[in-house]
């Protein structure tokens, strides 16, 4: 089914599809592309670059904290650095990279030619990129935010945070939240309406379920932070009083709004990572995942319960004690679905034949690190204990264990696993193992001592500490571990650069996996599949017969896509998708102008909306449909040819 093994008819079909679906050439082609793979790849690379920048910031922090009363970085710069580290990791790396990988993979896994709303997809990437550039330029110009990634008022408010630093932070939220919302929209629509015929809901891979759940969580969580950051900008720019206790506002309102978003945010990051693990484990133990239904239900219940936990970030804020017990209970409750997932994965491994390649190693590392993080989370859930541990290095240890263990390790596993599909080459397996061990050892060396530091009294967000407290040794150890962890990431980057063009060529399905993205070439052609597949069962490639039928009747000379029904993926109708266009980029640029302008002057919202409106009008200006423009005679001819092709295929 690849161009290489094509018959003459297949070859002609491939050329026609490539002409229809391919990007335009050159720089103009890059800027106008609406292809989910082109956009997905650049999205992944950009988000990974932000990961590296934020990692460098972390190394700087660790160097400053290697000794007591160190003078490597001063107080003001350190506060900017730790704010930028958290902000970049949470808003510019963690959520975007999960969405980016999904943008690339989900259309392939569900068996369609494109993501839903391709132009919106392009817009989502550009607005994310411009937001990220804005905040880093701001940081370099000394106007980077310095009030923490959580920006508690009144410290982040107009009186105690002079200048425009916090305003840039608040607008970054706007950029990234718009990007996350539009991508979530596309993913939900793709998963519900663009699946290959036969891929009923109970045949979708667990990874795709995880993306669906993540996208719904984005819908409910992101508007809250948008509301919060908008209120903050209004307080700072035009003197509203949302958070001013003297005029009827409340600093605790900020905390509620922020954490109502902030807690689901970490599950938005974690749930797709569990999807990676659910995709990798079956492949490397050679059996279908155990407990499909339980896994899916766990994802959904984690999402629901995840919205009911946020006050556990506020246990020291003086809220009523009975309420605090409720949130302790909810926080403990969410361990149950996570536990179900872990037991199902262990059962899968137990009854399989594990093959210890790099993606699988990262999954094992995930278990060790994430479970330890989850257990310290159980400790923090208990509000009396949290009163001692809150805002100490114990919490820093906990969330790095769950985020790096629960998201970054599966992510690196995923990058090694799907690298052949992204680029057509294999990464080096030995370098991959070196990456894993350096990261695993470095991570534990860096973050385990922090549990102890928190217990013996070291608070968070301190640019230095004093020798008398006895924290020096553990801090030095943590710094060394941080360096080792960085080396691991560096090895990965080297592996990437060596192998992305010159590595061993990858076959269609180098891992012998079961999902549909492995049923086309590595990398896939611009049109994904020569023929849209149909699906006979879960773990598609492992269960379907050689002569599984394909979809016919969809034109290959225009961008036609098959829309199917939500529950059982029966074909419903055919839709035509847009051609490459420059308007998403221009709309993103004008929106950027509006957002940045409104940091300085409220009138920017008014004047800035003019170019935005113009670009949106141009974007949505109705274009004729190519299908109807064609004279009937040609249409007849094409249909006839395709019927012939289908008959030949069946023969």
């Amino acid at each position: 089914m690849t161009p290489e093994t094509a018959t003459k008819t297949d070859d002609a079909l491939h050329r026609e599809l490539e002409k229809t679906w391919g990007d335009k050439p050159g720089i103009w082609g890059s800027l106008t592309s609406v292809n989910h793979k082109t956009i997905g790849k650049r999205f992944i690379v950009t988000a990974f670059c932000f990961f590296v920048f934020a990692g460098i910031l972390a190394v700087l922090m660790r160097i400053q904290l290697a000794r007591p009363e160190n003078h490597f970085i001063g107080a003001d710069l350190y506060n900017q650095i730790f704010t930028m580290h958290g902000t970049t990791m949470m808003f510019l790396f963690a959520v975007p990279i999960m969405e980016a990988i999904a943008v690339f993979l989900v259309p392939l896994i569900v068996g369609t030619r494109s993501i839903a709303f391709p132009r919106l997809n392009a817009f989502g990437y550009w607005i994310f990129l411009f937001g990220g550039i804005m905040i880093f330029v701001a940081f370099i110009l000394n106007v980077g935010p310095d009030a923490g990634w959580f920006a508690y008022v009144p410290l982040a408010g107009p009186q105690y945070a002079p200048g425009k630093r916090v305003d840039f932070w608040a607008q970054l939220i706007t950029f990234t939240e718009v990007s996350a919302l539009v991508v979530a929209t596309e993913l939900i629509t793709t998963i519900f309406k663009l699946r290959a015929p036969g891929m009923s809901l109970n045949r979708i891979p667990v990874y795709v379920w995880s993306i669906l759940v993540m996208a719904f969580m984005v819908f409910f969580a992101m508007p809250t932070i948008a509301l919060a950051s908008t209120s903050l900008i209004l307080d700072r720019l035009v003197s509203t009083h949302f958070f001013n206790p003297a005029e009827g506002g409340d600093p605790i309102l900020w905390q509620h709004l922020f954490w109502f978003f902030g807690h689901p945010e970490v599950y938005i990051i974690f749930i797709p990572a569990t999807g990676f693990v659910s995709a990798i484990i079956p492949t490397f133990v050679r059996r279908p995942i155990f407990g499909y239904t339980a896994l899916v239900l766990s994802l959904i219940s984690t999402a629901f319960i995840g919205f009911g936990l946020w006050v556990h970030h506020m246990f020291a804020a003086g809220l009523p004690k009975m309420g605090q017990s409720f949130f302790t209970a909810a926080t403990l409750m969410i361990v149950i679905p996570s536990g179900v997932q872990i037991f199902c994965w262990i059962a899968t491994i137990w009854s399989g034949r594990p093959i210890f390649k790099t993606p699988f190693l990262f999954s094992l590392g995930f278990f060790f690190v994430f479970i330890m993080g989850g257990l310290t989370g159980v400790m923090l859930a208990s509000w009396p204990l949290d009163l001692q541990l809150h805002d100490t290095y114990f919490v820093v240890a906990h969330f790095h264990y769950v985020l790096i263990g629960g998201a970054v390790f599966p992510l690196f596993g995923a990058l090694h696993y799907w690298f052949p599909k992204f680029t057509g080459h294999m990464l080096s397996e030995s370098l991959g193992k070196v990456t894993f061990w350096l990261m695993f050892i470095g991570f534990n060396l860096a973050f385990f001592p922090m549990h102890i530091l928190g217990l013996i009294g070291m608070p968070r967000r301190v640019y230095t500490f004093q020798a008398m407290n006895g924290w020096a040794g553990l801090n030095l150890l943590a710094t060394i571990g941080g360096v080792v962890l960085t080396l691991g990431v560096l090895v990965f980057i080297i592996n990437f650069f060596i192998n992305r063009k010159r590595g061993e060529l990858a076959a269609e399905n180098p891992w012998g996996a079961s999902t549909l993205e492995w049923a086309t070439s590595s990398p896939p052609p611009s049109y994904n599949f020569l023929h849209i597949p149909t699906v006979a069962g879960r773990d598609t490639l492992w269960v379907q017969p050689e002569d599984q039928p394909v979809v016919v009747g969809i034109r290959s000379d225009v961008r036609q896509v098959l829309i199917t029904k939500m529950l059982d993926a029966e074909p419903e109708h055919i839709d035509q998708f847009p051609e490459p266009t420059i308007w998403p980029l221009l709309a993103a640029l004008s929106a950027t102008g509006l957002f940045i302008g409104s940091i300085f002057n409220p009138w920017a919202v008014v004047w800035g909306s003019i170019p935005v409106t113009v670009s949106l009008i141009a974007w949505f200006w109705p274009k004729g449909r190519k299908a109807e423009e064609r004279p009937p005679k040609e249409v007849q001819q094409n249909l006839g040819e395709q019927k012939l092709n289908a008959q030949e295929e069946a023969a």
Partner: protein, 345 residues
Amino acid sequence: MRARQINWGFLTWVALVNTTVAATTQSSVDPAGPQAQHISQLWWVMLYLLTGVFILVMSLLSIGAFRRRSKAAETSGRNVIQTDSLRETKMARVVMGGVVVTTVILFALLVSSFIVGRTIYSIPKEPTVLTIDITGHQWWWDVRYENQVASQIVTTANEIHIPVGRQILFKLNSADVIHSFWVPNLHGKTDLIPGHPAETWLKADRTGVYRGQCAEFCGHQHAHMAFEVVVESEEQFQAWYESQLKSAPAQLTSSQSRGLQLFLSKPCVMCHTIQGTDAGGKVGPDLTHLASRQTIAAGALQNNRTNLSRWILNSQDVKPGNHMPPIPLNSEELNFVLDYLESLK
């Protein structure tokens, strides 16, 4: 491979125990009061229980990963294992069992949290022995001992004395941004949020000096906003309290009196109070009994002549961004001022 990892975990766990036993001041696992004691017990119970859970799960994972480990590194080809529904059902029962055990453990932890929570908030409150008002400022602690009789109110900064064995009420407020009042040896932390006056009760069961530190990011010098809680016997506390009630000494040597003159004509007088003199500034800490304190600059420096002179001449070198400006004094003037400040016992 797995076994080596577990051993490493054990070693660090042992190191944890040793380090925490060694740490005394500013440590939540070295409790000196009933609230910290209850919380610390909850901590140890959870640590042992959850470490056991961790070891169990990791063992299951390790055994599962290694017992039928594939020697061949081949993943391509159709060597897929067919699942057999009887085995799947058996495994499902084991998984269900695991879920049930998890739920039971979580419920037990919920109940113990609830009980500990209730306990630490219902430690019998004696008719109020002492009420201390703490106001958090960027980046120092204002301490005021309440009293019905105005002349019996003690105002100090950054160092709190309390008698051992008595339940003390702390009323917490912030003058600017959110801070957090935390003495790990005695109790968990309570945030100081503008617009939300808070209260906490502390009780110390043994004497000693316990260090506290601000635990909510509050700006440039959050890292240097510490304080000390000096727990002493009832007699020592009363003696301290009596001496704090006194105004600054009136009888001064000539050098001290030159120092006072300088204090009143330099920036010092704009921000600081010294009872018994014309200095009544309310912006910075009360200095009436500066020389009786162990530390200066909110726990950033030991209180001695060298540090005091460093602090006065350029506090921005010690705590960059703090609200005390550099004070221009030549060395003769500085000596007079230091002589005077050292008299403020």
